[in-house]
Amino acid sequence: MKKLILAATAILALGSAAQAQETVRIATEGAYAPWNFLDDTGAPAGFEIDLGNAICAQAGITCEFIINDWDSIIPNLLAGNYDVIMAGMSITDERLETIDFTQNYFPPDPSKFAAAAGSGIDAAALEGKRIGVQGGTIQAAYAEENLGATNTVVSFGTADQAMADLAAGNLDTILADGAYLEPVVTASGGAMEFVGEDVMIGNGVGAGIRKDEAELKATFDDALTALKKDGTVDKLIAQWFEGRGPYFAE
């Protein structure tokens, strides 16, 4: 019996070690267009999927994207369920305490307040308002800290749900990444508008990697440097975020 358990243990351990060498598993949320989403075939698509595949091609490694809820995306990285996070995640000091980031592949981007058109909301002096954010984001932390005392901050599982509640009139405003909100506000055909001043938070978006994976981080950083140099990153940004960039051209 004991031998059997040991053998099973060895197979389990070998299995997970072999897996780690063969394919790099990249986790993404799949609900944050145009960064990452599920296309009509049900497969992950978006800026980060194209970029991730470009990085892996550049580095000569095989990669696989898996979908993980935003809430548990860092804990599951630490648990070793995958090796990299590419999910529109901003590099912040808080996150750097638990995980490492590659260099950013999207520059620091202002967060914006969006509201229903003609709401006359004064984003500079928010009081007694319902502000929607996606839970666990830099905007959620910012809103709690700076606006939480005098307003109700409502947090949602995905950014789209926050947006839906704003559209349904349950929220006065939402605070989210400009790069996420811009196409949504444009697509709303005038039903939504930006209000108030933009807020600068975060140090750009990078790929999250466990602290003990220095080699993998170096591989990703080198590939990103090369892809920034040859214009691939700028090309993908221009393709997925209309009218953005170029940011990394020399």
Binding site: L6, T9, A10, L12, A13, S16, A17, Q19, G30, A31, A33, P34, F37, L38, D39, D40, T41, G42, A43, I67, N68, D69, S72, L78, A79, G80, N81, T158, D160, Q161, M163, A164, A167, A168, P183, V184, A187, S188, R210, K211, D212
Partner: protein
């Protein structure tokens, strides 16, 4: 009109929707496997509860009363995670060297080599076992009661024929028990069916998770059809699915009931 129809037909048969339809297999697997385990655990539990040996009787009683009292959602979250960590703790005690322990930056597992990656198949099995454990506690009570409902005369007659204890148990006692247990077990089965909607809590991309994803509002043409919050439409489909399963289950249980009642005193067959 026909263009509309063609559009919607192609919309509900795109890859995303096909994945949703395919995910029904997880729900059905969890219900069937979980249900089977519930009956197995129920039989074991009832046997323990009926045991003449006090410690075994206590185990049976404690199992059926404690597990029945814990909310299924809670047990569903607790059991797979606790089991995973217990396995990782055990592997860690076998394979982790001090070097590996020092290299580990996360709080858990103790060393990376001890990590047990749980994918959909693993979670599905753990989820089914959770369902089996929770509803096995209900089945324990049902079967325990059913065992006591078998007329004493039947058992006495079996003994008088010279049957051994195990012959009596399997050929007479359990064989006749089903007639009394089936109505209760059909209730337990309905509860299991309903509890399969919890699978998405364990990161299984099941019918509820896909209904959520497909119904989530979409604002960008690049992503697919632009629509508002349509989750209620998808949930409605799930309602219909569960109602159909209920109706089908009732028919199946009626058939089983008829079969189990063959040759048994007509007064117990309603």
């Amino acid at each position: 009109m026909s263009e509309d129809l063609a559009f919607w037909l192609s919309y509900i048969t795109n890859g995303k929707h096909l994945t949703w339809y395919a995910s029904f297999q997880f729900t059905i697997f969890a219900a069937v496997f979980g249900g089977t385990l519930a009956v197995v655990f129920g039989l074991i539990g009832a046997t323990l509860k009926n045991s003449r040996f006090l410690p075994l009787r206590l185990i049976g009683t404690v199992y059926s009363s404690i597990v029945r009292g814990v909310p299924d959602v809670l047990f569903f979250l607790f059991f797979p995670l606790a089991f995973e960590q217990a396995v990782e703790w055990f592997i860690a005690s076998q394979v982790c060297t001090p070097d590996m322990l020092a290299a580990q930056s996360a709080a858990w597992p103790p060393c990376k080599e001890a990590n047990w990656f749980l994918g959909t198949p693993e979670y599905l099995i753990l989820a089914s076992v959770s369902l089996g454990l929770v509803y096995g506690a209900f089945a324990t009570n049902v079967i325990h009661g059913a065992l006591r409902s078998v007329p004493k005369g039947q058992l006495e007659a079996a003994r008088a024929y010279g049957m051994s204890a195990s012959q009596l148990l399997w050929r007479v006692h359990i064989r006749q028990m089903w007639v009394y247990a089936l109505p209760g077990l059909s209730n337990v089965w309905m509860l299991i069916i309903k509890a399969t909607s919890l699978l998405s809590l364990l990161q299984i991309a099941d019918i509820v998770l896909w209904a959520d994803r497909l119904g989530a509002p979409n604002f960008l043409p690049a992503v697919g059809l632009v629509h508002e919050d349509w989750r209620w439409r998808y949930y409605l489909v799930l309602f219909v699915f569960y109602i159909l399963v209920t109706l089908l289950s009732e028919k199946v249980f009626e058939a089983i009931m008829r079969r189990a009642g063959r040759g048994i005193l007509s007064e117990v067959r309603h």
